[in-house]
Assembly symmetry: C2
Homo-oligomer: 423 residues x 2
């Protein structure tokens, strides 16, 4: 999508891949230092060696320090950090660890609707029971405890609810949960004895004024020992999102909190089956949690690149919302964070009928027509889940601004045309 | 363990990580060409982008060409190639795909004893039934169809056997299966309607005179259409072994053969849950299957490095076997291939009794004492499985020759001492 990688990260990764370059005076000293530090922590000083299954120790330490800094000093223990093959791997592993039972004892897992499809897929694969709770589109995809309670008590009849998953900032909905809402969720998890899975891979992607990322861990600890020493939790992060966008490296981590030591031993055993996460992804994660510092030569370029990426995303978030809301029949919540918008579309009855005849979800018909007519690929809301009778699509805000403007214009024109055609 | 990475591979990986280096005249032209080719096949020309879940298409094509060349022209279809996060990932995924059923219908999976522990771990995790067949230590860890039949019919009473796994060359046993033996296994798989999983990650690690690597696929196709169009099979390869030894990159592939298209569709869906294998691992795999050619500038260095690594391994394989067989109470089969030796040790009755008192397997006691006395870590045979009443340890042959000599000498002295102490 045209987003440029952070120079410093790629320099260090090249140095790690081919350490002969350490003699090259083209590379800044801090990049070389970081590469030496990473290589020093690798078996045989090579990123080609297997690492410990939980991840390279010094990187886990740096992850802990990063979390402590992010959360204003709340302690983090490197023993609770598991490096992973992207967040996907950690999320799937954690679900696998938590799901058990048969029949009405089968583990139920609460996930938001609309959801990121990794969750429904992993639950189907594990034969766990998906407990859907709906985000409130009218309150900017907010999370309402009354809805959590409704979903939970409906589910108790046929499964054993044990886990609640939250994505914040949200995919596909782009909302940033308020501190109050996070407190409510934590209180709910405590009352109902649920393990809390906080998918926080978009933690640096917050754009809307007045919005701020609050980590579940920080809020948990600020609620006092009654909560911070009892609620079991895992938080997930990734090198794929934020300002780095390095999806191909498959880097990530999870931090587990208040996990029973015996369960944690099983987790460690479980991750060791696949030997270790990719060391290149671990190295990249090390750079994300330990970026150039103000007194280092790469700092100014790093900050410039980082700021540019995040500013461009913020601009595109605003542009997308504004443009969609000028179109009759499209209602778009603010893109407070993450990289997506999930606008609601009004479809004419005839379009709905036609879709039924063709055996398609109505928003699938809409997206297929758009693809055919304009070559633009959106994902229909039905792929993420939505309230019965409502229709949406998901679009990323990632294309370069000028391209995004063209895309938004084309979707607008298409929407008007489509509505006319089926009215 | 001191094994040096292949220069060409690391150069291309550095170029892919930091493409600014493409302007650097320090890199050979063929390395730059390969990097450009790989980047051209990546989304946005960056290894930071997600790839297709099955892997980058042009790399899958090159894997197919590599297999065709290896197997003397037998066709390979890139649609049947799945790139993976090391072979571990592909093996676990394939087992997951094949295991189903409950109670006496639960899928049974045949694995060799001694085995590589990935298999027993994955089967336990999937609650599949492990069907153990024993390799014949007296015939150089050969595979005997009578033993396969015995194991299978014993298992039929309590599960539904559907899969047979073979590791060739073997870990931990270091044998290379003969062509005849592979034919027997294929015939057995056909007769018993078993899915054949061929773990061939050590395919370039063959040292013993008279031994040759025969791929299951080649033998299958040479047995004629009666076999080649019916036996369902998957073969696994990895960037972690052979002459490259690049474990940290987590590269690998599997080729599936005669898989029902509907099952294959499920496989594709299954791998897409985790998005994609690490792109750096995919890039490395591309280089393994498409190494420098005779008319290219990097060829001579590449061949020199490759030959040196394999020659050193061959030397160490011979050295290990010879040294162990001079020790009374150690019997060591030839290390025909792979990177391991699994010698049998005779333990005095008093050592066995002492181990029992301490709640340890006798070979665990032996390995713990060795670790404490000499700082050498071997894995007890009980970790891999062995015939009741026999004891072994596994050692890699990877340490540099001079170090290996010291290690072998220390183990020899320890064995003599240990035997005396408990006699
Ligand atoms: C909410 C959410 N969680 C997890 C992931 C997985 O990311 P990765 O496996 O690349 O770290 C994604 C990717 O889009 C996501 O949107
Ligand atoms: C027989 C065998 N199969 C598979 C693997 C997994 O290798 P990787 O996941 O690194 O490709 C190994 C590693 O030691 C092995 O010995």
């Amino acid at each position: 999508m045209g987003q440029k990688p952070i120079t410093f990260f790629r320099q260090v990764l090249a140095l790690c891949a081919y350490p002969d370059l350490l003699d090259d005076n083209k590379f800044p000293e801090d990049a070389k230092q970081r590469a030496r530090r990473i290589l020093g922590a690798c078996g045989g000083h090579s990123i080609g060696a297997y690492s410990a299954s939980q991840g390279i120790e010094c990187i886990r330490q740096d992850v802990s320090r990063y979390i402590e800094k992010r959360d204003g000093g709340i302690p983090s223990n490197p023993d609770n950090i598991y490096l992973s093959t992207g967040a996907s791997d950690a999320i799937v592993t954690m679900l696998k660890l938590l799901v058990c039972g048969e029949g009405p004892d089968r583990t139920g897992v609460m996930i938001s609707i609309p959801q990121y499809p990794l969750y429904s897929a992993a639950l189907a694969d594990l034969a766990a029971v998906q407990i859907s709770y709906y985000l409130d589109e009218d309150r900017c995809w907010g999370l309402d405890v009354a809805e959590l309670k409704r979903a939970l008590s409906a589910a108790r009849t046929h499964c054993n609810p044990r886990v609640i998953c939250i994505i914040n900032p949200g995919n596909p909905t782009g909302q940033v949960q308020s501190r109050k809402c996070i407190e409510d969720v934590i209180r709910f998890a405590k009352e109902e004895h649920l393990f809390l899975m906080a998918d926080e891979v978009y933690q640096d992607n917050v754009y809307a004024e007045g919005c701020k990322f609050h980590s579940f861990k920080k809020v948990l600890f600020e609620m006092g020992p009654e909560f911070s020493s009892t609620v079991e939790m895992a938080s997930f992060h990734s090198t794929s999102k934020c300002y780095m966008g390095e999806c191909g490296f498959r880097g990530g981590y999870m931090e587990v909190i208040n996990m029973d030591p015996e369960v944690k031993a099983q987790l460690t055993k479980l991750v060791s089956v696949r030997l270790c996460p990719p060391v290149t992804g671990q190295a990249l994660l090390e750079l994300v949690v330990n970026p150039p510092q103000p007194d280092e030569p790469s700092y100014s370029t790093f900050m410039k690149e980082r700021t540019e990426v995040l500013a461009a995303l913020a601009e595109k978030a605003g542009l997308t919302e504004k443009t969609f809301n000028t179109v009759p029949g499209i209602i778009c919540n603010p893109v407070q964070g993450a990289m997506y918008t999930f606008p609601r579309i009004t479809l004419p009855q005839r379009a709905i009928d036609t879709a039924k005849e063709e055996g398609l979800a109505p928003d699938m018909l809409y997206c297929m027509r758009l693809l055919e007519e304009e070559g633009i690929c959106l994902v229909p809301g039905s792929g993420f889940g939505q309230r019965e009778g409502t229709y949406h699509f998901r679009m990323t805000i990632l294309p370069p601004t000028e391209k995004l403007k063209v895309v938004l214009q084309k979707i607008r024109d298409f929407h008007v045309r489509f509505t006319k055609q089926f009215s």
